[in-house]
C-alpha cells in the first residue's frame, strides 16, 4: 500500500470544524477580493470560497444559503487550532488540488478557474482516483462541510434540534452519592 505522510496531518482536520459567526462567504471574483484570514492566506481563502460554492450549491434549495454562513471564517478559526506543520501540509494539498487539473485528466485549468460543472467532474475524478487523491479531496470536502454544518443557522432546514438541555429546562443531577464501601471479593 502506498501512502503519503502529509495526508496524515491534513486528514487531522477531517472531522473537525471551525468556530464563530463572522464573515460571510459570498463568491468573490478574484483573490484580491478576499482578505487574508489569521491562518489562511488570500489565495487559500479564495480557493475555499470557490470550493464552498461548488460543494454547497444551496440556491433553490430550502437549505441556508452558503453565503449567509461564515464558512471561511469558521475554516480559518479551525486552522488556528492546528499545529503549523499541519497547516503547511494542507497548503501543499491545496496546491496539488488547485493545479492538478493542468496535469492530470482533461481539465487543463486551475481548479478555481473551472466552471462549476467542470469543477464537480474534477472533484469526482479525484474521489475515484489514486488513494492519495482520494485522501486529499476527502479532507478538503470535510473541511468545507464541517465549517458549514457547525453553524446553528444551518440546522433549522434539517429539523435538527441542536442543544436541548437548556431549552427543555433540564436540571443537573450533580455528583452521584458515595457508594457503600464494599469489597469485590478478590480471589486470586
Amino acid at each position: 500500500m502506498q501512502r503519503r505522510t502529509f495526508l496524515a496531518r491534513t486528514a487531522q482536520m477531517g472531522l473537525l470544524a471551525g468556530f464563530g459567526v463572522i464573515a460571510a462567504c459570498s463568491k468573490p471574483d478574484s483573490v484580491s477580493a478576499l482578505p487574508a484570514g489569521e491562518a489562511l492566506d488570500r489565495e487559500q481563502m479564495f480557493f475555499f470560497s470557490h470550493l464552498a460554492q461548488v460543494l454547497l450549491p444551496t440556491a433553490g434549495t430550502p437549505l441556508t444559503p452558503v453565503n449567509q454562513v461564515p464558512v471561511l471564517s469558521n475554516l480559518d478559526k479551525l486552522m488556528l487550532t492546528m499545529p503549523q506543520s499541519t497547516r503547511t501540509d494542507l497548503a501543499a494539498a491545496i496546491k496539488l488540488f488547485e493545479y492538478g487539473g493542468m496535469v492530470l485528466g482533461w481539465h487543463f485549468s486551475r481548479f478555481t478557474r473551472m466552471p462549476d460543472e467542470d469543477a464537480i467532474q474534477y472533484i469526482d475524478s479525484w474521489q475515484t482516483g489514486h488513494p492519495m487523491q482520494q485522501g486529499i479531496v476527502s479532507v478538503l470536502k470535510r473541511l468545507v462541510y464541517s465549517s458549514y454544518w457547525r453553524d446553528d443557522s444551518t440546522w433549522g432546514p434539517l429539523d435538527f434540534d441542536g442543544p436541548v438541555s437548556e431549552k427543555w429546562g433540564l436540571t443537573s443531577l450533580g455528583e452521584a452519592p458515595l457508594p457503600q464501601r464494599q469489597s469485590a471479593h478478590l480471589s486470586q
Binding site: 500500500m1 501512502r3 495526508l7 496524515a8 496531518r9 491534513t10 486528514a11 487531522q12 482536520m13 477531517g14 472531522l15 473537525l16 470544524a17 471551525g18 468556530f19 461548488v54 460543494l55 454547497l56 450549491p57 444551496t58 434549495t61 437549505l63 487550532t81 492546528m82 462549476d116 464537480i120 472533484i123 469526482d124 474521489q127 488513494p131 482520494q134 485522501g135 476527502s138 470536502k141 470535510r142 462541510y145 464541517s146 454544518w149 432546514p157 434539517l158 429539523d159 435538527f160 434540534d161 442543544p163 436541548v164 438541555s165 427543555w168 433540564l170 436540571t171 443537573s172 443531577l173 455528583e175 452521584a176 457508594p179 464494599q182 469485590a184 471479593h185 478478590l186 480471589s187 486470586q188
Partner: protein, 515 residues
C-alpha cells in the same frame, strides 16, 4: 463538590509532592484506581493532562466540544491519515465523552486471554464481582423501552425480521434525559462518567486531583518505581506554569492506550521484548446510513439503543452493529452521496435516516511509537480484518432493507449507494482494502501495553505490573491483549479495580518506604 487543583491555582514554578501512590490519567482506569486506593487509606495524587471542564460548560455542540474535551482537539489520526482515533482529554478522560454503552468483556475473550497469554487469573468468575460492583456504582441498566429511539427500532425491526439476535444495550446513565448529546459530554450529569462518580468519591477520601498536568516522565530507583515528573500548563494560553515532581512508592499509569506507551517510551522504560506500543487494536468503526420514507430523527432520544450480536463471536464474523444516533455533522461525513446538488439532497433528507455503528474484532496489527519525539500511530485495516468489515456492511444493509429502507449509504470514500437488496453483495464485494477506501473512526484504542505471564510476549504481568520495574502498574485499556469486540469502558473499570485490590492485598510489598 469535586475539588480539583488547576493550573490557575498554582502559584509557584516548582511543586514537589510526596504520596503513597501517584496515578497518571483520570479516565476509566485512573479514576477507579484513585478511589479504591484512597478509600483504603492510601495517600493518592492523581494527575490529569487535560483541563477540568465542569459539565455546566458543555454546550451540546459537537464541534465545540471536540475542540474542548478531546485529544488533539478531536483531530488525532493515524500516520496514514485515514483513521481518526477519538479519545477524551479532560478530567474524567474518555468516560466524559463516551456513548454510555457498557458491556462485560465476553467470556470467550477471557478464555482466549487465559489460553494464549496466561491470564488464567482473569476468569469470568473472578471478574464477575467486579462487574457487579461497577454496575451498581454506575447505575448500569438495560435500556428501557423509552430509551430505544426510532433509530434503534429500525435496527431491531430488521434484525428480528431476519431472525438475528438483537438486544437492548446496557448503559451507565441515571434518569437519562434523552438529549442525544452524549459525545459532547452530559450537560445535566445523567451519564455516570468518572467526573460525577469515582473522581468525587476519590476526592472525598482525600485523593488530591490535579488537572492541566501532563506527566512527562516516570521515575525509577534501583528497579522500582519512585515517582513522576510533570508539567503544569495553562490550558488557555498554553504557557508552562510549573514543573512538578511527585515522589511515590507506587506509580499507576492510566493514560489510555495511546499515551501510556508513549510515556513509557519517553521514560526509556522499554520492555525486554520491545513490545511497548505494539499490538495496537482499535475496533475500527464505520457508520452505515439508511434512508426511510418516514421521519426517524436519528439524533433524538438516547444515542445508543440496541445492538445486533448475531455475528459477535469471531467464528461467526467477529462484529457487532449498534443503533447509534448522529447529528448532521456526523451524517454529513459518514458517506459519499455525490458532489454538489446530490450532497445537498442527501443532507436535506437527514431526518429520514437511521444509522448504526459497526465494531469489528480487529487483530492487533498497529503500533504507537515516538518519531522525532512526536506521537505516531500506525494502523492500517489488515487484509485479515477486511472481510469482517464487509460482512458488517452486508448485515447492516440487509437489516435496513428488511426494515423497509429505500436505500443504504455505505461508509466509503467513493459513492456507493445500495438501492435494493439485490445490489448488496455486488456493491460491497467491489470495495477494495486500499487507503481511504473506508471512512473509519476509532473510539476504542486498546492493547499497546499487553498483559501476560510471559515477559517475552507482554509488557506487564497478569496484575498489570511492569515485568521489569516493581511498583509500576498500568491500569487502562492498553492492557487488553486482544480487542474485545464490544465497548470497553466497563472492562477497564473492572480490571482497574481488580488491580487495585491486588495492590492492596500485597501492600507490604509496595508501600514500604514512605510510611
Amino acid at each position: 463538590m469535586l475539588k480539583v487543583i488547576q493550573a490557575k491555582d498554582i502559584k509557584s514554578s516548582e511543586l514537589n509532592l510526596k504520596a503513597d501512590v501517584v496515578i497518571v490519567g483520570s479516565g476509566a482506569g485512573g479514576a477507579v484506581m484513585a478511589y479504591e486506593l484512597a478509600a483504603a487509606g492510601k495517600q493518592v495524587v492523581l494527575l490529569e493532562a487535560g483541563p477540568y471542564v465542569p459539565s455546566s460548560q458543555f454546550n451540546e455542540k459537537f464541534p465545540d466540544m471536540l475542540e474542548t474535551l478531546y485529544q488533539d482537539h478531536g483531530g488525532q489520526v493515524t500516520k496514514q491519515g485515514d483513521l481518526l482515533v477519538l479519545q477524551g482529554r479532560c478530567l474524567g478522560g474518555s468516560t466524559v465523552v463516551n456513548g454510555c454503552v457498557t458491556f462485560r468483556v465476553p467470556d470467550f475473550i477471557l478464555e482466549k486471554w487465559g489460553a494464549e497469554y496466561g491470564l488464567t487469573n482473569l476468569t469470568p468468575e473472578t471478574l464477575s464481582p467486579y462487574f457487579e460492583k461497577i454496575e451498581r456504582n454506575l447505575s448500569i441498566h438495560t435500556n428501557q423501552p423509552h430509551e430505544i429511539n426510532q433509530n434503534s427500532r429500525k435496527l431491531e425491526q430488521g434484525a428480528k425480521a431476519l431472525g438475528w439476535s438483537v438486544k437492548p444495550l446496557q448503559r451507565n446513565t441515571k434518569d437519562c434525559a434523552l438529549t442525544g448529546h452524549c459525545l459532547s459530554g452530559c450537560k445535566t450529569d445523567r451519564k455516570q462518567s468518572m467526573l460525577v462518580t469515582y473522581l468525587p468519591w476519590a476526592s472525598h477520601y482525600g485523593a488530591q486531583i490535579y488537572s492541566d498536568c501532563l506527566v512527562t516522565e516516570i521515575l525509577t530507583d534501583s528497579g522500582r518505581a519512585s515517582g513522576i515528573k510533570a508539567q503544569v500548563t495553562d490550558p488557555q494560553s498554553g504557557e508552562k506554569v510549573a514543573d512538578m515532581t511527585v515522589k511515590a512508592d507506587l506509580v499507576v499509569v492510566s493514560a489510555g492506550a495511546i499515551q501510556t506507551p508513549l510515556l513509557f517510551l519517553r521514560s526509556q522504560l522499554g520492555s525486554q521484548n520491545d513490545s511497548i506500543g505494539k499490538n495496537f487494536a482499535c475496533h475500527p468503526s464505520t457508520m452505515i446510513v439508511a434512508e426511510f420514507e418516514k421521519d426517524i430523527y436519528t439524533w433524538r432520544g438516547a444515542m445508543l439503543g440496541v445492538y445486533m450480536d448475531e455475528f459477535e463471536h469471531p467464528d461467526k464474523g467477529g462484529f457487532v452493529l449498534e443503533g447509534g444516533g448522529a447529528g448532521p455533522m456526523e451524517i454529513g461525513m459518514s458517506t459519499e452521496p455525490g458532489t454538489g446538488k446530490s450532497y445537498l439532497e442527501f443532507m436535506s433528507n437527514a431526518k429520514n435516516y437511521a444509522s448504526c455503528i459497526s465494531l469489528i474484532h480487529d487483530h492487533n496489527v498497529g503500533q504507537v511509537s515516538l518519531k522525532d519525539g512526536q506521537k505516531q500511530i500506525d494502523y492500517e485495516l489488515s487484509d485479515d480484518d477486511f472481510p469482517a468489515m464487509k460482512l458488517a456492511f452486508k448485515a447492516a444493509a440487509k437489516i435496513y432493507f428488511k426494515a423497509g429502507a429505500k436505500r443504504v449509504f455505505l461508509p466509503t470514500v467513493d459513492k456507493r449507494i445500495v438501492e435494493s437488496e439485490d445490489e448488496i453483495d455486488n456493491k460491497i464485494d467491489g470495495i477494495e482494502n486500499t487507503p481511504f477506501a473506508i471512512r473509519m473512526v476509532s473510539y476504542h484504542p486498546q492493547g499497546t501495553m499487553r498483559m501476560g505471564t510471559d515477559p517475552g510476549r507482554s509488557v506487564t504481568n497478569e496484575y498489570g505490573e511492569h515485568h521489569g520495574v516493581n511498583g509500576l502498574f498500568v491500569a487502562d485499556a492498553s492492557l487488553f491483549p486482544t480487542s474485545i469486540i464490544v465497548n470497553p469502558q466497563e472492562s477497564v473499570y473492572a480490571i482497574s479495580n481488580y488491580i487495585a485490590d491486588y495492590i492492596l492485598a500485597n501492600e507490604e510489598k509496595y508501600f514500604t518506604r514512605l510510611n
